[in-house]
């Protein structure tokens, strides 16, 4: 495998490129040979392909990436994502193991290789696109890496030739206790003795450090072999990020090519984010939403906002993130900026006007996009937080009240909160407990919603006035509010207004 030998070490040196002569040389690696199923995408392809192939391959990869992103928005677990993605990958971007002895192994891998680099071109232009592309490509790589056959995975990792220090036997014995302490399953008592450990700079594995999953000593992280996925995936992302920056610098030279540019522009446009968060629709225009009747409206709030509201009423204060979450929600239900300021001013009873103006006013205006940088003002401030955002954010610290109560409360306190909101059905509370125990927070929340609006939901279903999309799972606190408000005020609100779209679509 001469090609493989060439892949080791410094990418410049190993190719024996002389930059001065480079432009006159024949490409040395025209026909790449793909020994491994996975690819770190270090070398760009140089073979000719037709324009049709160029577009078709890129689109199928794009489909895969879009589905992958949708999985994240729907809050799927890694296992669910893997099983959901399997048929999609098989259809659009099949990539077989060496062991499969499939005859088009090389073709599949070539497609994978080329489509990756085409999308690189399409998504290198802006920082936003780059970040999104790199995140999704890394996810895809991780998915494939985990599903790879163990032996082939090892061969693949070996050929990449990372410079990871193996922890020697002696050192391992000396640190046996510490290493055992970071090995979660102690039942396999021999854990630290049998398992191999790598010693790397801790900066290479920030997520493992964050979760205290590795032992740290003087800046070195001791990573068990089973966590090497993280190492490999991080390395993949690091190189991809570097590559994307290089690509973006080279992009201007492509402008002259009038065959590729339109295709690339089209590709990146069709990749615009399905903004999971929020659409202007979630506000209730025409209804009286003002500072004075937030109390009345709060009966329609989901648990997260109801909790913030009652805490605010009880303490006349909320900490920063609670304030932010609540302000954005109020913005989402259609409370105007002056009304919102009035609302907070009144709610912070114990604070002087001067302190309010100095410390709180700016943040409210910033959230509405009234002040701040150009981008903030043009984007009309921040988007109200979705369930996805609330569920993936860090847990609140002492004294803080933000986040999703289904996740942050202990089950007993959660039940207490729900009872305060008027949920007393024992069976329901029991199922909510179970859901929460299985970390299905949004399902629990939707269950509470359905129970609270049982009769109204039955009515609209019987009458068929709402279509299926209006009754989809709630994924946004503002959707919760709007739906609740509409259901409870069915007589008063014109049916025309009801035809809302789920903002997550």
């Amino acid at each position: 495998m001469i090609r493989q030998e060439a892949l080791r070490g410094d990418p410049k040196r190993r190719l024996g490129l002389n930059h001065k002569k480079k432009q006159f040389e024949q490409p040395q690696f025209k026909q790449q040979d793909y020994t491994h199923r996975l690819n770190f995408y270090i070398l760009p392809p140089t073979l000719d392909i037709t324009l049709e192939e160029f577009e078709e391959w890129a689109i199928s990869r794009l489909k895969v990436l879009a589905e992958l992103e949708a999985c994240a928005f729907r809050n799927r677990t890694p296992e669910e994502t893997a099983s959901y993605m399997q048929p999609i990958l098989a259809k659009h971007l099949p990539l077989a193991q060496n062991s499969s002895r499939s005859s088009n192994l090389q073709d599949e891998r070539k497609r994978d290789h080329y489509s990756h680099f085409i999308l690189r071109l399409a998504f290198a232009a802006t920082e936003d696109l780059r970040r999104r592309f790199s995140r999704l490509e890394t996810q895809l790589f991780k998915l494939r890496f985990q599903s790879d056959d163990a032996r082939e995975r090892r061969e693949f990792v070996d050929h990449l030739n990372f410079e990871w220090d193996k922890v020697g036997e002696e050192e391992k014995r000396g640190l046996a206790e510490e290493l055992a302490a970071v090995t979660p399953f102690k039942s396999k008592n021999a854990g630290s003795e049998e398992e191999g450990w790598f010693k790397v700079d801790w900066e290479q594995v920030p997520e493992l450090v964050e979760g205290r999953k590795v032992f740290l000593k003087r800046g070195k992280a001791y990573v068990p072999v089973r966590e090497q996925t993280t190492l490999v995936v991080n390395e993949f992302q690091r190189r991809l990020d570097q590559g994307l920056v290089l690509t973006s610098r080279a992009l201007p030279r492509l402008d002259e090519d009038d065959r590729l540019s339109p295709i690339l522009a089209h590709l990146s446009k069709s990749f615009t984010a399905p903004d999971a968060a929020y659409s202007q629709d979630s506000s209730l225009s025409g209804n009286d939403i003002s500072a004075a009747n937030v109390d009345a409206l709060s009966t329609h709030f989901p648990a997260c906002m109801s909790h913030l509201h009652s805490t605010l009423r009880a303490n006349s204060h909320l900490k920063h993130f609670g304030r932010l979450q609540y302000t954005l929600f109020l913005k989402g239900i259609g409370l105007s900026l002056p009304e919102c300021i009035a609302f907070w001013r009144k709610s912070f009873r114990l604070i002087t006007d001067e302190k309010f103006t100095k410390e709180y006013l700016y943040n409210i205006r910033h959230a509405y996009g009234d002040v701040g940088g150009d981008a903030n003002r043009r984007g009309r401030g921040y988007t109200p937080y979705s369930c996805q955002k609330l569920l993936t954010e860090g847990m609140p610290g002492p004294g803080q009240t933000h986040g999703c109560p289904y996740r942050t409360f202990s089950p007993d306190n959660l039940v207490g909160l729900l009872q305060k909101m008027g949920v007393n059905d024992r069976d329901l509370l029991k199922t909510v407990r179970e859901d929460v125990g299985r970390q299905r927070y949004h399902i629990a929340c939707n269950r509470v919603f359905e129970s609270a609006h049982k009769n109204e939901l039955k009515k609209v279903k019987d009458e068929g006035t709402w279509n299926a999309a209006d009754l989809d799972t709630i994924l946004h606190p503002n959707t919760y509010f709007k739906r609740s408000f509409l259901l409870k005020n069915m007589g008063k609100v014109q049916s025309g207004d009801v035809g809302m779209e789920d903002p997550s679509q």
């Binding site: 920030p206 979760g211 205290r212 740290l216 003087r218 800046g219 847990m395 610290g397 002492p398 004294g399």
Partner: protein
């Protein structure tokens, strides 16, 4: 090479003569706008008192009487005048603030570099206006700006890719981005309010300061032992907390993801008021937690149980019971404590073991182990550092500079020597008015009049600020030395970007 950065200790004094003019010129405009005028009457009365006190040592002979820096006939710094009196702050910047050491600390080299020139400073002015994106090529210009703007405090931000003052002239907004900043931590007593019993709100005493002492010990140890950082500067925040600045090059260059990782590694208490038990860690304990627990255990007995007495009344002790996941044990304890009100926390803590030994809950085979773990969790909940983690997670977060004056207390934000962290007493940290009085007292001493050495001395050397500045100077020297070696190593290795 500019004047100010030469190692000659006289250099800073050499600048002083221009100070009166500066102070005087900006004063006329500044004074008018300040709420100084209502102050002047009581201040003058105070001045008379002080002048009587110092009557015997005539100020005409002293080298740098404080009256020479203030405009003539204006109020001399007096102990009881308002701490954020603009004149006092001005005198503080002119005479006491160690700008040169601050410069070297941020510059990482004796001659001015972009590390300092592209660094953001943000001033909070006397009228509470907030001025961001200030930057200065040298220490001297920073000092001049401080004297003329006379901020109540200033903060330090990141080093940017270009000069922060030029940020609006750039064609592309993306060309202006933060590159590096010390990794910082903020520990504030407010986060301890639910567990401290001695004070609340902005107040502190020596008993609750031990929370901060414990936090410093644990975090400092972790940063040095686990992450391998060497240059960690702890600074008293002026009222009720402490800041840490990790200054190693490796720490300064970290991106947000890495900062988040360090903060997450150190953060243990999770969950708001309603989440019940805040410490939920897997066993075996991570080595970092094991070590922290060993440090904290010693404090728990004295500083928490007997000093704070956190579970004295029955409402407070129900908080303790909530943390024990054993219903039988909890009801037995509740019965016992209800019948003996006023039992101390120390006895209550002991009761847990006593009652457990009587066989309550022994049906559980792992009871002993689980009880031990629950008790460890309680120790951690009451002692483990509570960091304001958001501060640490962002590269572009600003933090108040060391040696600023806290506007509420007048105390100087002095560095804390971690080797003697136990001895640090926040209540004995000098205030700005005390320091200025000390200079005058020193200068007033006749014996020093003729001493040539004394004339070369800088004003901070004559005050209680000296040990703190000396410590800071030592810290900066060590950092600079490492920086110099590091640079040479990097140069010798060749292109560091090649891999």
């Amino acid at each position: 090479m500019p004047h100010a950065i030469s190692p000659d200790p006289v250099a800073e004094d050499g600048i002083l003569p221009d100070a009166p003019a500066l102070g005087g010129s900006s004063n006329s405009s500044q004074d008018a706008s300040q709420e100084d005028s209502p102050q002047s009457a009581p201040a003058n009365a105070e001045k008379l008192n002080l002048e009587n006190m110092f009557d015997d040592d005539d100020e005409d002979d002293t080298e740098f009487p404080s009256s020479s820096i203030a405009p003539p006939d204006s109020d001399q710094p007096t102990k009881s005048s308002r701490i954020n009196d603009p004149e006092i702050m001005k005198a503080f910047y002119q005479r006491l603030f160690p700008f040169r050491h601050l410069f070297q600390w941020l510059n990482h080299s004796p001659s001015p570099t972009n590390d300092f020139a592209n660094r953001e400073f943000a001033f909070t002015l006397q009228n509470d206006a907030y001025l961001r994106y200030q930057s200065f090529p040298t220490a001297d210009l920073l000092r001049k700006q401080c004297v003329s703007l006379n901020p109540s405090r200033f903060e330090i931000g990141p080093v940017y890719s270009t000069n922060p003052r030029d940020r609006k002239t750039l064609r592309k907004a993306s060309a202006f981005r933060p590159l590096s900043k010390e990794l910082v931590f903020d520990i504030d007593m407010t986060d301890y309010d639910e567990i401290r019993t001695c004070c609340s709100g902005a107040n502190i005493c020596n008993r609750c300061w031990t929370f901060i002492t414990m936090a410093i010990k644990v975090v400092d140890e972790a940063l040095k032992e686990d992450f391998g950082f060497k240059h960690v500067l702890w600074v008293y925040s002026g009222r009720r907390g402490a800041h840490a600045w990790v200054c190693d090059k490796r720490a300064r260059d970290m991106d947000d993801a890495k900062r988040r990782a360090v903060a997450g590694y150190l953060e243990l208490l999770k969950g708001g008021d309603k989440s019940g038990k805040k410490v939920n860690v897997r066993r075996p304990l991570h080595p970092h937690l094991e070590r922290s627990l060993a440090i904290l255990k010693e404090h728990f007995q004295d500083d928490i149980l007997s000093s704070q007495d956190p579970w004295a009344d029955s409402e407070a002790s129900s908080n303790l019971l909530k943390l024990l996941p054993f219903p039988d044990l909890v009801s037995a304890l509740r019965k016992k404590w209800d019948s003996a009100p006023g039992r101390s926390s120390e006895s209550k803590w002991g009761d847990i073991d006593t009652i457990a030994k009587t066989g309550v809950g022994s049906s559980d085979t792992y009871f002993g182990k689980r009880l031990l773990e629950a008790k460890q969790d309680i120790v951690l909940e009451y002692t483990y550092p509570r960091l304001d983690a958001e501060v640490s997670k962002k590269l572009n977060h600003l933090l108040k500079s060391p040696f600023c004056v806290h506007p509420g207390t007048g105390r100087v934000c002095v560095p804390i020597d971690t080797r003697r962290v136990e001895e640090f007493d926040p209540l004995s940290v000098p205030t700005v008015t005390e320091l200025l009085a000390e200079i005058d007292a020193w200068n007033g001493d006749e014996k020093r009049e003729a001493d040539e050495e004394a004339k070369k001395m800088q004003d901070w050397e004559k005050t209680r600020l000296k040990p703190y500045v000396d410590y800071f100077r030592g810290f900066v020297a060590a950092l600079l030395k490492e920086e110099k070696n590091g640079k040479r190593d990097r140069d010798e290795e060749g292109d560091p970007m090649e891999f």
